[in-house]
């Protein structure tokens, strides 16, 4: 279907030459192959969806396309010509531009200034802005997308959706530079938009197709199928295939993203043992802070409670607050009947609370430090006699956990950053287990960026810990994960607990049930 669209619309360049083509792209990071021979074709005047789980290599691929990442091997062709993209500027000259997930506008400048920033052209004369010209330049871009934003409005006074329009308008400036139909990359453009704004964006994307090619990345598969002509699927850094969107179902896409291993008891539900505890281990009453208010929550020993919510629901902050890493303004938290001190992370550690942060590489581990030192970082007592470190004690302890969690590492003195993501995460989890005093585990996206096998191992470990009586709060990477793992699900919305539903094996809610409560 897309081929016909293309041959009609592509008048300026001979048809069938793809606007953008990627062949065998490879990118290694220490310990992980982010891209492992990716092939991708973007046709002219086509909206190509890019789907893949977290860690499948989507972001790395996009970054390679705009010159932010230098691939180790592979080729990129723009309109049939091989190119080397060393910077965003190089990419812009070739007509490739990206609207970033985190917006890249300068908040205290006007929309017009942001749009022409870096390519002022006639907008600047003798070192000074010519505002009439600036306005015209910006309006020209806005006209392309039919937007009615005032070019002279300060960016920070615009709504998020409007700012996104400014971003798109800004990216469209590259059309002037390359003198060719541009390739526009939209990275998770809908993740923080409301449904009405999403409709506007989709209208926009369809409009872009008239004169540009679009690469559209989103987590929401229904959206991808709705707006795209064709979807390419990545898994573990490889292209695993593509789907024509006409008549395709989200489930088909999902299957491709996860692969065959994802099917049978991925979440180890067979291991689940419902908790029989009467009294909750963790009770949270009226906990409030800047980003959430009046949160009530109970977690029993041996129970896994998933907290779900959209971006901005405040669930991450609740998690951090329970670990003493975020200031709170009100509320009472008790752990096994004793008041939990939320003033700092040290107090939480001492009370038997563990936290696995979402940003593993930045917050979860100290990359250049050894596996052993990372593992004993939080529970120094576990390797000490009195105030002194006993290296043999540490060695025995660490080796035991390396074996028990089957952590694949050359040895315990290897820097943790040299391990693969899954093994890194196991070390980070083991950090809370070596002390033998863990009571409450707060897991913030514990499987982010892990491949299927590693994920499954993390799930298994979570089950074992729960069966040993550890109370777990899980912020899952996806609704499926939350449903698969949790005994109970708390839905947060706008910083408040919106609802709560049981999620025992055999009586699981569907993602749709949750989504209704989330928005």
């Amino acid at each position: 279907m897309s081929i016909e669209v293309e041959s009609q619309a592509a008048a300026s360049v001979p048809a069938r030459v793809p606007a953008l083509e990627v062949k065998g792209l490879v990118k290694h990071y220490p310990g992980v192959k982010a891209l492992d021979g990716v092939d991708l074709v973007v046709h002219q005047n086509e909206v190509l969806g890019l789907a893949g789980e977290n860690g499948a290599g989507k972001s790395t691929l996009l970054k390679a396309l705009v010159g932010l990442v230098k691939p180790d091997a592979g080729e990129i062709y723009v309109r049939g010509e091989k190119v080397k993209l060393r910077s965003v500027d190089d990419a812009a000259v070739q007509g490739i531009g990206m609207v970033f997930q985190e917006q890249s506008l300068v908040p205290n400048l006007t929309a017009a200034e942001n749009i022409v920033l870096g390519s002022e052209g006639a907008g600047v004369k003798a070192g000074l802005y010519r505002w009439s010209e600036m306005r015209r330049l910006a309006q020209e871009q806005f006209d392309k997308i039919g937007s009615h934003i005032d070019p002279l409005a300060r960016t920070d006074t615009l709504s998020f959706a409007d700012r996104q329009m400014v971003e798109i308008a800004k990216v469209l400036r590259i059309e002037q530079r390359s003198q060719h139909p541009p390739v526009i990359i939209l990275d998770e453009p809908t993740s923080v938009l409301e449904s009405k704004e999403i409709e506007t964006l989709f209208t926009q994307v369809r409009r872009l197709r008239e004169f540009a090619s679009v690469v559209f990345v989103s987590h929401r598969l229904d959206e991808v199928l709705d707006v795209c002509d064709r979807v390419a699927v990545l898994r573990s850094g490889q292209s695993v295939g593509e789907v024509q969107t006409e008549g395709a179902q989200p489930a088909d896409l999902h299957k491709m993203m996860i692969g065959s291993t994802g099917s049978d008891d991925h979440y180890h539900e067979g291991l689940a043992q419902p908790s029989e505890e009467e009294r909750p281990r963790l009770t949270v009453r009226g906990l409030s802070a800047k980003t959430f208010r009046d949160v009530n929550l109970d977690v029993h020993a041996g129970e896994i409670v998933a907290v779900v919510g959209v971006h901005g629901s405040g669930r991450e902050d609740v998690c951090r607050a329970l670990f003493g890493a975020e200031p709170t303004t009100a509320g009472e938290v008790t752990l096994d009947g004793k008041k939990l001190d939320l003033s700092g992370t040290r107090a939480a550690c001492a009370a038997g609370v563990g936290y696995v942060p979402a940003e593993r590489k930045i917050e979860g581990m100290v990359g250049p430090m050894s596996v052993a030192d990372n593992m004993t970082l939080a529970k120094q007592k576990s390797r000490c006699n009195g105030p002194l470190v006993v290296p043999t004690k540490q060695a025995t302890l660490v080796d035991r956990w390396i074996e028990r969690l089957s952590i694949r590492t050359p040895n315990r003195t290897t820097a943790i950053q040299r391990l693969s993501g899954g093994n890194q995460q196991k070390v980070v989890l083991a950090r809370w287990l070596v002390g033998n005093d863990i009571r409450l585990l707060l897991l913030d996206h514990p499987t982010r960026g892990l491949d299927i096998g590693a994920r499954s191992e993390v799930y298994r470990l979570m089950r074992e810990l729960a069966n040993n009586g550890v109370a777990t709060v899980l912020l899952a990477d996806s609704l499926e994960e939350a449903i698969g793992m949790a005994d109970r699900i708390i839905v947060m919305s706008d910083g408040k607990v919106a609802s709560e539903m049981p999620c025992r094996t055999g009586a699981k809610p569907t993602p749709l049930d949750l989504v209704k409560e989330m928005v």
């Binding site: 220490p30 898994r235 850094g237 695993v240 593509e242 491709m256 040290r346 970082l377 693969s420 299927i452």
Partner: protein, 331 residues
């Protein structure tokens, strides 16, 4: 175009094998290599240099620098910088000279304690007010200099009775200056404490990734305040050594040691971004810097050129050792 499912198995998780590369290993031994090369070069330029007498003299010059550099190394390992050490040492020389007549032998511990307290105050300001250490200690540098000028009436304070400091000018076994012995004892002490307690882990974690250290329950704030405190105390001890040699205190006596001390740290290979490094590296760095200092006149370079050298080697050493993959934006 219609090939819906082309399934490939998920890739096996990889473990990257092997340690640091050869060039990384060589870079790691750079300070020792530089030390040997310098010694050889100076001996060739002036065969009289490699004698016990001149080496003893050189090591005595190095002692205060070693102590200062090692103290400040702790702050650098935590990811900060202490620019106030030289001014702190100058202030301490003034205090020492002023207190000697009344406190006698107690004035040495008193000065070190005072310097440690000043250091701790800077640490607290840095941690509590969340001001970059660079700014706090830049301010501290100015404040300490001013206090030194005020209490000394902007002049040299002579020391008439040097008896309680005299031991520092003696020689162990007739060869090794006591000040060098003290310096090495201090370094060993700091190293032993770090090595055999969790402090090493905490400092390293804080330096590499403060947020990761904090989220693993490390006492990041106390570690940083402690580092500033030790850095101050070391500057105080360096001041004691300077006074024992110069028989006076002066509000600018140690001011010219700031660049050499920072140079010693970076030449030693301690990462200016924190985490990587050790106090022994700074000892090697301090010796390199001292050799350059005493060696320049030997090869006929006027001493006015010294400052150019310090500036150049700081920049060059950081250029060689900085791990740019860790620093996203160079400010």
């Amino acid at each position: 175009m219609t090939s819906p499912v082309v399934a490939r198995p998920a890739a096996e998780p990889t473990v990257v094998k092997g340690g640091p590369s050869l060039s990384a290993r060589v870079t790691s031994f750079m300070p020792v290599i530089a030390l040997v090369v310098l010694l050889a070069a100076l001996t060739i330029a002036d065969p009289g240099f490699f004698t016990q007498r001149s080496l003893t003299a050189a090591s005595m010059t190095a002692a205060p620098l070693i102590v200062m550099a090692v103290g400040a190394t702790l702050v650098v390992l935590c990811g900060g910088i202490d620019l106030s050490i030289a001014a702190m040492a100058s202030l301490s020389t003034v205090f020492l000279a002023l207190w000697l007549p009344s406190l006698g032998a107690l004035s040495t511990p008193a000065v070190i304690a005072a310097a440690a307290a000043f250091g701790a105050v800077q640490g607290v300001l840095h941690v509590v007010l969340r001001i970059p250490s660079f700014i706090v200690t830049l301010g501290g540098m100015s404040v300490f200099s001013a206090i030194a000028l005020v209490v000394s009436d902007a002049g040299t304070v002579p020391v008439t009775d040097n008896s309680t400091l005299n031991w520092l000018t003696l020689y162990l076994g007739g060869i090794v200056p006591m000040s060098v012995v003290v310096a090495l004892l201090v370094v060993t002490g700091i190293w032993v404490i770090m090595r055999f307690t969790p402090i090493q882990s905490w400092i390293t974690a804080t330096g590499y990734s403060e947020s990761a250290a904090r989220l693993a329950g490390s006492p990041v704030d106390y570690v940083k305040i402690g580092a500033f405190c030790v850095s101050g105390a070391c500057a105080g001890l360096a001041a004691v050594m300077l006074v024992s040699r110069n028989f006076s205190g002066n509000p600018s006596m140690a001011d010219n040691l700031l660049l050499p001390a920072v140079a010693a740290i970076v030449v030693g290979g301690t990462a200016i971004t924190g985490g990587h490094g050790s106090v022994w590296r700074s000892v090697a760095g301090a010796l390199v810097v001292t050799l350059l200092r005493v060696g320049l006149p030997i090869v006929g370079v006027p001493s006015a050129w010294e400052q150019i050298l310090y500036g150049a080697i700081i920049v060059a050493a950081v250029a060689l050792t900085l791990d740019r993959s860790k620093v996203l934006i160079i400010k």
